[in-house]
Symmetry: C2
Subunit: 202 residues, 2 copies
């Protein structure tokens, strides 16, 4: 039996979910198109990216299980979402479990990077991660990221001023070329090496 699926769309910058205990009308979502950012925001308005959800990925699954949500979900690009039914099929629950397992692995790597890597190396990792999202476009044979320094700060768990310094350093060293709201990845292999090393001690 096929079920009609409920879809919903959001514009760039729109908040899809707020932190808190899920209410009876709250839903879990699967991303069909676009990019969703799960983030924490502190009292001063500094955002910290917790996870990026790409097409095929799920978020908001607290609504199925009834525990508290600790994040904002925001549309980074225009997004199209499928709202999961309140009682998903066993196949859907399995796909969800598989996605959560992957997301957990990614968050372990994130924890490792935060605990052991220098900001410059974490930034290289973040640029490479963003290069595999809809924020990246290929222009004249190179990858160009459309991201502000605020967005990069949220991605690495730092603040804009510090990020601006690190982006300047990566530019001078020839890894990237940085323009207004845009970053061109000049040396992807070099960035991969940086992303894999720790920098100077922890």
């Amino acid at each position: 039996m096929t079920q009609a699926r409920e879809t919903v769309s959001f514009k760039p910058g729109e908040v899809i979910l707020y932190p808190g205990v899920p209410g009876p009308r709250d839903r879990a979502f699967r991303v069909l198109e676009g990019l969703v950012r799960l983030e924490a925001v502190d009292e001063e308005g500094n955002a910290l990216t917790l996870r990026l959800v790409r097409p095929g990925g799920y978020f908001g699954e607290e609504a199925l299980f009834g525990h508290e949500r600790g994040y904002f979900a925001e549309a980074v690009t225009g997004v199209l979402l499928e709202a999961l039914p309140k009682e998903p099929t066993p196949e859907e629950v399995e796909a969800l479990a598989q996605h959560l397992s992957q997301a957990l692995s990614e968050s372990y790597r994130r924890i490792e990077r935060l605990a052991t890597q220098r900001l410059k190396n974490r930034m290289a990792a973040a640029l490479l991660e963003l290069s595999e999202t809809p924020l990246a476009k290929e222009e004249e044979g190179a990858i160009v990221l459309h991201a502000t320094h605020d967005e990069l700060a949220a991605a690495v768990g730092s603040v804009r001023e510090t990020v601006t310094k690190v982006i300047g350093e990566l530019s001078r060293e020839g890894y990237i070329r940085s323009g207004y709201g845009k970053i061109l990845l000049k040396d992807v292999r070099g960035l991969k090496e940086l992303a894999q090393s720790r920098g100077d001690g922890r």
Copy 2:
């Protein structure tokens, strides 16, 4: 139809799972008794705790989904585990999905703490987390943790020398009393306040 369940036990310090691509004999586990630590270990042997799995929790679920495992799983105390069948029932998959969703929420908080909190505040959070595991005993009306400074360093993503300094500070300020391999939580409410605040900027 009831299925006989396969259980397996490990002694404190034994490695249950190694990082890598799960093989055909690899299994996912549910903790029945004891405490399991998932950790990353760097080239110099420094451990970083990624997650603690308590009774009722699952780990090793990569074996069900076939993606690479990025952690060691180690028995912290003596543990008794249930090995999940290769094809778990829909109820088991749902319980697993629910656990993974909770674990992901916890790892978001971990990411937030690492990105924004000072070590002293993270240590307060780690001591409180450990106080809800089998490493904690009640002695003369107070909670006593059995943990070395190496274990505490792994819990907060730091190194022993730095942890020793922070533990000294928390002792002098009356939050804890520290002995050999033992920490008595003297001021749980004060530790909770510390765990909830950021410390001095990030």
